[in-house]
Structures are given as C-alpha cells and as structure tokens.
Symmetry: C2
Subunit: 431 residues, 2 copies
C-alpha cells in the first residue's frame, strides 16, 4: 500500500517544504490525514458520498477547525457550508473560496478536501499575520460535487446559483431507491427551503478554488502552479449504429452490416479530430455497449459515447460537427442506420484576466514556477464562473492519478499552492 | 407477428410444393407446428432448453410419431434418442441421420427440429414406398446441441463419440446453480452410466444431417440445396489491451494510453484480414468489454473476442497469426500491454466426396438447383465428422435469420430438402 495516501508518506516531503511563516505544514498534514480516515476503504481509498454519515462527519470536523479560528459557520438548507472571515468593509461583495468534501467511491484524499483545507489554511494564515483585507473572505464547502450517488454532480454550486428547483430535486434517487429529497432531509436539512440557499450573485466579487491538477502536465514540466485559463465544459454525444445481427460463421465478410466495425471506425476518427481543431481540444470514447455481445454473433447494435471538450465553445462545436459528420459517413458507407443524441452540453468557462493576474502575481512574488493550463475536468468553479468572476489554482498530481486510491500530491506542493491562494485572496479582497 | 412462425404462414406455400408421392407436406407442417408450440414464447420464438419439461415433451411427441411408424425408440443414458429402421443386412454399419430438438432461448422453429422431422419424414417415405435398403437407417436426436443452458454445446454428439467423461459432467452448472448431473438425473436418466452411451464408431457407415442454412447464400442465388463441403470449425481468441485509466478532460490527446482506441484498430484489422487469406475465411469481433466503461474516463482495459473460421485449418491458422501480429503491432505502437488467450480451437471438418456425391446425385435426379457451400456454424455433424464419414444438406433460410423468432424456411423448400435427404440416405444405405 505504498502508493496510497498515508500521513507518513505525506510527511516524507516535510523537509522539502518552503518556510511560509504563517502556514503550518505539519498541521495541514494532520488535518488532511484526519479527513482521509473518514470513509477510508480497504484499498486505501476514500468513500465519502454525499448525504452519508461519513460526509457529515467530515463537515463536522471542518466546522470545528473553522470555529477554533473564531469564524461563524452556517449550513444552508441543502447542506452547503459557509464561513465568513470578515473584512474591513463587510458590506462589500465577498471573495469566496472553497471546494467540496465528498468523494467518488474509493476515490483519493486530495480531490476536494485539499481545496477546502487550502482555503481554511490560507484564511488562518491571514489571521495569524494580522492581515484583514477590505472585503470579507468567505469559505464555502459545496455539497455533492462528484455526483456519483444521485448521478447529479456539481450540485451544491448549481443550487446556490439558483439553477435547481424543488421539482428538479424530486427527479433524483440513488441506486438503492432513496430519493434525493429524503436523503437531504435525513441529514436534518430542508430541501423544501431550496430557494433560501440562493446566494445573491452581486454579493460575490470573485471565487477562487484550489484543486489538484488530475493530469500530468505540471509534473512533467516541473512546474508548481497551474493558472487555470478556463474550464473546458464537456459535451456528450451518443452514437448508435444499427446493422444486422447475423451468425459469425455463416455470413460472408461481404454480406455483413457489422455495428462493432462501424463503431471502431468512429472511435479512430474521434481520436484524429481534436488536434485538427485546437491544441486544447480532447475527445474520448470511454463507454460502449455492444448488443448482443456474443463471441459468435455479428453485433446488430453498438452504442458509443463521445466526450468532447475545449475551452472555446465555437471550436468545441466545430469538433462535434466533424465527429457527427464522420459518424454519418461511416453509417452511409456501410449501409447501417445511425441514431445520434446530444446527452450533455455544458458551456466552457473562461477565467477573467484579473483573477489569472492575481494568481500570477502571487506565484511570481513567491518565486514559484507556473504555467497557464486549462481544466478538462468540471468543477464548482465552472458553475460559479457563469455568473461571477472565477478562477482556479492547480497543484501537481503525482502521475496524474485521480479518482483512485493512488491520488497523491506532495506536501511541499500543497503548501506552495496554499501560499499562492493566500496571496491571491488577499489581493482580490483588497480590490 | 407476420414475421414469426405460424402453421398458417408455413402452409402458405403448400401449393408451391412439388409432388413427392411418399412425402406428405401437410403432415410435415402439422408436425413442425406441434413442436413449435412446445416452449413457444410471447415474442413468437421457441425456448426449449436442454433437460427441461419442454425438451422432454418434444422428445415424447417425436417418440410417438416414430412408434406409429413401427420403429423401436431407445434413449441412451444422457438422453440422446435413437430409432432404427432396419435394413436387409442389419449386421452392416448403419447410416445415421438426425439433428436436435433443443433451441436457444427465444430461438426459431426450424433449427434442429426441421432436421429431426426431415429424417423422420425421409424414413417414413422409404417405408411408404416399400424401399428397404441394405443397411439400417438410424434416426438420432442429439441432446443439447445449442449449449446455452450449461455453456456446453454439441454435447450429445460429443458424449456419444466418447469425448466426455463423468468427471467432465461435474464441471458444469447452469446460471441458477443447477448442476448438469442433477439436471440429467431429474429427467430420469443416468449420467453415471455415461460410458454406456458410447456408440461404436465402426458401426456407423455414414452420418447425414439436414439443417437450415442460417445464412443468405442459397436464397440470394435462388438455389434449393446446399451441399456442405465442410464445417468451418471456430477458433476463439481474446485480446486484452491494457493502457491507462485517465480523466477524459485532463489528459491531452498526445498523453493517452487508450485501450478502446487500440481495440478499435484491431477490430478494423480483423475485418480486413479474411479476404486476404481465402474466399471462405471469416473473422468477427462480436463481444467486447470496456473497463471502467464510463463516458468521461479513458478506458484502461478493453477486451475483445475474435471468432475466426475457415474450412481449411492451415488457412485458418494463417489468419489467426495475422490477427495476432496485428494486435501486437497495435499494442507496441501505442505503448500498451497486450494479453492474448486462445479460448477455443475446433478443427474444421470436411465432408467426404462420397457423401457430397450422394447428395449431388439426389439433387440432380430431382432437378433441384444446388450449390456447394460451407457451414460456418458448428453442428453435431462436425463432431461425428471427426470419426465417421459425415455430411450435411442445407435448405434456404429466409433472409438468413436464425436463432430468433424470425427464423423461417418455406414449406416447399423444406420438402425439397427432405426429398434429397431421402434419396441420399437410400443411396448411402445401399453402399
């Protein structure tokens, strides 16, 4: 189990940590380890799904730490946590910062939790330094970022931004048939008061989230800070080729309408298209269903899902059109029918220059090598970014691993990221 | 339900039937319809799995018809049925003919059942005509040709040829956990006496099975009789590409080890290789499993099964080597690892010229257009053919459909096939 999270492994790089006078690396390691014990799995991962005892325990632990800092913590009607570090002019729009505490099943110790602890540690650092900015800084923990349990991710931020109605809630239940509204009520919360969770957008000056990269670019380039230029919202398309189910032995090669072969052609086309569109575009076939899926049967029906992303919406749509064209041509050439569905379309979100600059200033001041990156993964910042200026700071992921017990970021890299976050928040809160 | 079997639909072509004085088309339609009612499904198909009440009922119905013909019917220890039409020299090796009465789930009315009724009707015709050949003709019904229930097909013929031991039986159970031996015992049979089922191979002069083509070649060429030159035994290979599970959004196209894309390349290669090897070679990817199979995850592991067939074993192995080479090259080029397993290798079986000639003579005498074909599907004749001279007669399948409720062969085509079978059996039994 050397490749999973442990406090000992995390502390290995304690001596490599730069000395930031108000940031306590040992305390950070202590707190991340405490959270990692809540929902720990046999495989060394973390299962802390939304609206479970484990998630509640993690929120309670965080609440205790925030209250020890002297902050007042409130929980909204669906479970988002908020804690205000009051600025000199509390009537000004706040700078918000935070992430989430839920995980995917058997996920890692850093995704979400590191972001929340970074915000806590940054605020703690400002308090220790006696620095009170003009604007208040508000820590937030969004519920259900991952969305595994109810197939309904980045939930807390969508609710807070007013995108979800009570009727929407009624449509979701988990695999055991527990309704989302009942799961919320079981936590002592009030789904029927969902409107009270809406956060007035004009009261937010900026939002900043620190997150692990979940990719390998920073690590490969030995850079410490990723300044996120934008979040590449995903679009999902499903393509179903319908051919003819025939006997694999009795059907000559020339007489086939093979849906698997058609899907294979599209998979290879999907791999070729993104580099033609932009350097940042990606497209993936990760899911396919073959029917009837028998060794000796030419499959009559095959469905694949294409996940296509870019930070530029026009380029993403250009990529989608090329993929759809390729699919139609393949179907036509092979004499198969094709069903195409657009499953999800989330617009990409760009980080405003002012927020990118604040992160850049902090990185430069701290002499940390940085790189402009895009986030291919969705985050709560993608939702907030639709309404208020939002940005993200990435820290390196060892081997790019995420959503797995192997997810890891070195302690010194975490601390560097927090130092950048602290200065970024301070700059934004003094604007 | 116009496209499934019904007695009315079958009788539509009664007037198109040629007049064969000893063959009763109406009686054939009556009997096939009676069998089709046993295990009939809502979708219009037939579910008559081995060692069930339905299969037993079908065997009992057949036994009644055979006894009405004056034949003595015996059932061996695992349920194969045998009925002897005694020739003038009963001590000579017999000519055996027959097929099976079990079906796949929701299968058709013809696969197996038509073969059995053809053998019955042919013997009935010889009796009516007062023709008693030198050799005895023995009708056989093999149990469990399909193998769906216990994943253990062409079972009855393998047992009869001595390929299965009692210990082998103990390894199989169905999806409900019922052991094969217990299922056999429940039918009042005696799996422990499996050795008593062995049929002395030297006592078989020839074996002939009539079967629907399960392909479209006869129909497309408006030919009535397929003279099977050989049965292309299947070989099954599984290929597992192991790459890296990564986030579909955060992993640039250049940094991927995508097992789905590798599998797609192999699928297209598998489609290209057979025509380079021979005109009769076929290869199919009908089954694939993608792990973890999530829309937004680059799949770390994908397994595909390749079913490759030809009637020439050397050419088939040449095809397999080309497929394995292609898989290795793809894995190497993409930096993935590859696991290759040979799952099944059944040798192709060729029909002896003498049997092909007997079928040809009968077709010519009856002025029925015939074509030499190969069987891509496996049959009990493939097992018997390893030990005794064996051949098959194919009749046209409407639209090539099989193993489905849509399986259909016109009554006049059935009758033509039976006429050829009768003459073929008579010629072989007089050798």
């Amino acid at each position: 189990m050397d490749n999973v999270f442990s406090k000992e492994r995390f502390l290995t790089s304690l001596n490599a940590c730069k000395s930031y006078k108000s940031l306590d690396a040992t305390l950070l390691a202590e707190r991340l380890s405490e959270l990692a014990e809540i929902g720990r799995t046999k495989q060394g991962g973390i299962s802390r799904l939304v609206y479970t005892a484990e998630e509640k325990q993690a929120k309670q632990r965080l609440t205790k730490w925030l209250e020890e800092l002297g902050l007042v913590v409130r929980e909204d009607a669906i479970g988002n946590l908020l804690a205000l570090y009051e600025g000199e002019n509390p009537e000004l729009p706040v700078v918000m910062t935070g992430s989430h505490l839920d995980t995917v099943p058997n996920g890692g110790a850093f995704d979400g939790a590191l972001g929340v602890l970074s915000s806590l540690t940054a605020i703690e650092g400002l308090i220790k330094e006696g620095k009170r900015p003009k604007r208040s800084i508000e820590l937030v923990v969004f519920v259900d970022e991952e969305g595994t349990r109810f197939k309904n991710g980045i939930f807390g931020s969508r609710v807070m931004m007013g995108e979800v109605t009570y009727d929407d809630l009624l449509r979701f239940e988990d695999e055991e048939g527990i309704k989302l509204v009942d799961a919320i009520k079981e936590q002592g919360l009030f789904p029927e008061k969902i409107k009270e969770t809406h956060y007035p957008k004009e009261n937010i000056h900026a939002f900043v989230e620190l997150h692990i990269e979940q990719g390998k670019i920073l690590e490969e380039n030995q850079e410490k800070i990723g300044i996120v230029k934008g979040i590449a919202g995903p679009s999902w398309h499903s393509f179903t080729f319908v051919g003819e189910t025939d006997h694999a032995g009795n059907t000559p090669m020339t007489h086939r309408k093979d849906s698997v072969a058609a899907a294979a052609e599209l998979i290879l086309a999907v791999e070729q298209i993104p580099p033609k569109v932009s350097k940042t575009a990606v497209a993936t076939v990760g899911k396919m269903n073959v029917h009837p899926n028998g060794s000796n049967v030419i499959a009559g029906e095959t469905t694949i899902t294409v996940d296509a992303r870019d930070i530029d919406e026009d380029l993403r749509e250009q990529m989608n059109r090329q993929i759809i064209n390729a699919a139609n041509k393949i179907a036509e050439k092979r004499g198969l029918s094709l069903e195409h569905k657009t499953e999800i379309t989330i617009p990409p979100v760009l980080a405003p220059q002012a927020i990118q600059d604040a992160i850049k200033h902090a990185s430069e001041a701290l002499k940390l090598p940085y790189r402009y990156v895009i986030s291919g993964a969705g985050h709560d910042a993608m939702i907030l970014g639709k309404y208020v200026p939002s940005g993200m700071i990435f820290v390196p992921s060892v081997n790019g691993k995420s959503h797995s017990p192997e997810e890891f970021t070195h302690l010194d890299d975490c601390l560097d990221g927090i130092a950048v976050l602290k200065e970024t928040l301070y700059e934004l809160a003094n604007q």
